[in-house]
């Protein structure tokens, strides 16, 4: 990869600048009060109503890491955070678009379940990437939807290369995740979930450093894209295995 181009990215991402340790406080969930009863209910519903299963949890490395699942239902993030368990959940920060975060009702419910970071990928994508890098540099993990939006059909949408930028420039491994069944349990447009089996698969982490060494492109963009493409392929393979 071209060193000078990467330097430029690091400058824009402010990777090498010191980070205010209070940065994360802005995004904390309403953990101490509402989070435990919320997940008590989610745990009961997941086990009984959705017969939910989590596979490959042993693939999740020590923090910081990037959880990158497919996205087709508004219950996806809750199911993944339920699956990883309380300890990991407390260390995880979900990147959420302003569309949801700026809605007080949606924000209240999101903050019960998770640490939530507001990002604006359309108008200010660089701030979104900076926020993701800051969280990781502070030793915490992030949850990011690489598709950028929900798939209405359950088919994978193209992955956006921002996840590749964050992985390459911070060195954080990406955990590919495939969520199966949530589109049937709570399809887009539905308000009440149906009792459908939900399965969540965590794959071996992708370490971007290995892919960077293989890339000979002059454009850093191609390296970020290669990491994102690898992630897409891994999620696709999980999907195909599950669908068989």
């Amino acid at each position: 990869m071209d060193e000078s181009t990467s330097k430029y990215w690091r400058k824009y991402l402010r990777i090498d600048e010191p980070i205010d340790q209070t940065f994360l406080k802005n995004f904390h969930s309403l953990n101490s009060i509402l989070n435990p009863p919320f997940f008590f209910i989610i745990d009961m519903l997941s086990r009984s109503y959705f017969s939910a299963e989590a596979h490959g949890l042993e693939n999740i490395p020590d923090p910081p890491y990037i959880i990158a699942p497919n996205h087709c239902s508004s219950m996806d993030q809750t199911m993944v955070t339920w699956a990883i368990g309380r300890t990991r959940r407390k260390e995880l920060y979900t990147l959420t678009t302003k569309f949801f975060f700026d809605n007080p009702f949606a924000r209240f419910f999101m903050k019960i379940g998770a640490n939530v970071v507001r990002i604006d990928t359309e108008e200010d994508f660089m701030s979104a990437l900076q926020a993701a890098c800051k969280v990781i540099k502070l030793g915490k993990s992030i949850y990011i939807n690489p598709e950028g939006t929900r798939s209405e059909t359950g088919e994978l949408l193209p992955f956006r290369p921002g996840v590749g930028v964050v992985a390459v420039e911070t060195g954080a491994p990406i955990v590919p995740v495939y969520i199966d069944g949530t589109i049937k349990a709570l399809p887009p447009g539905s308000l009440f979930p149906m009792p459908h089996k939900v399965r969540i698969y965590f794959d071996r982490p992708i370490r971007a450093g290995d892919l960077v060494k293989e890339q000979r492109s002059e454009r850093a963009y191609d390296v970020y894209k290669a990491v994102t493409d690898e992630l897409y392929e891994r999620v696709k393979v999980l999907k195909e295995k599950v669908s068989r």
Binding site: S4, T5, Y8, W9, Y12, D124, F125, M126, R160, P161, G162, V165, R219, A220, Y221, Y224
Partner: protein, 82 residues
């Protein structure tokens, strides 16, 4: 100035993998050439490298066309000469 126009045009073409004669300097590069925001940064990095200019982060939002890139580059080069 004409030289810079052509050089910036060639650099944009190289980074977005097109021929220079395909680049209309007044076309919106994001819409017309399907350049995404990340490739936009790659173009700025290319200009930085070529002319040794420091393009501030806030200039990212000003860039829509190759003409914008030419203007920003020219401004920064004039400042550098002063």
């Amino acid at each position: 100035m004409e030289n810079i126009d052509q050089e910036v045009k060639e650099l944009v073409a190289k980074i977005i993998k097109r021929r220079p004669d395909e680049i209309n300097i007044n076309a919106n590069i994001f819409r017309e050439y399907r350049v995404d925001s990340l490739l936009g940064v790659e173009i700025l990095a290319g200009l930085d490298k070529k002319y040794n200019i420091d393009i501030p982060e806030n200039k990212l939002k000003e860039v829509k066309t190759t003409a914008d890139l030419i203007r920003i580059t020219s401004e920064l080069l004039s400042k550098k000469k002063r």
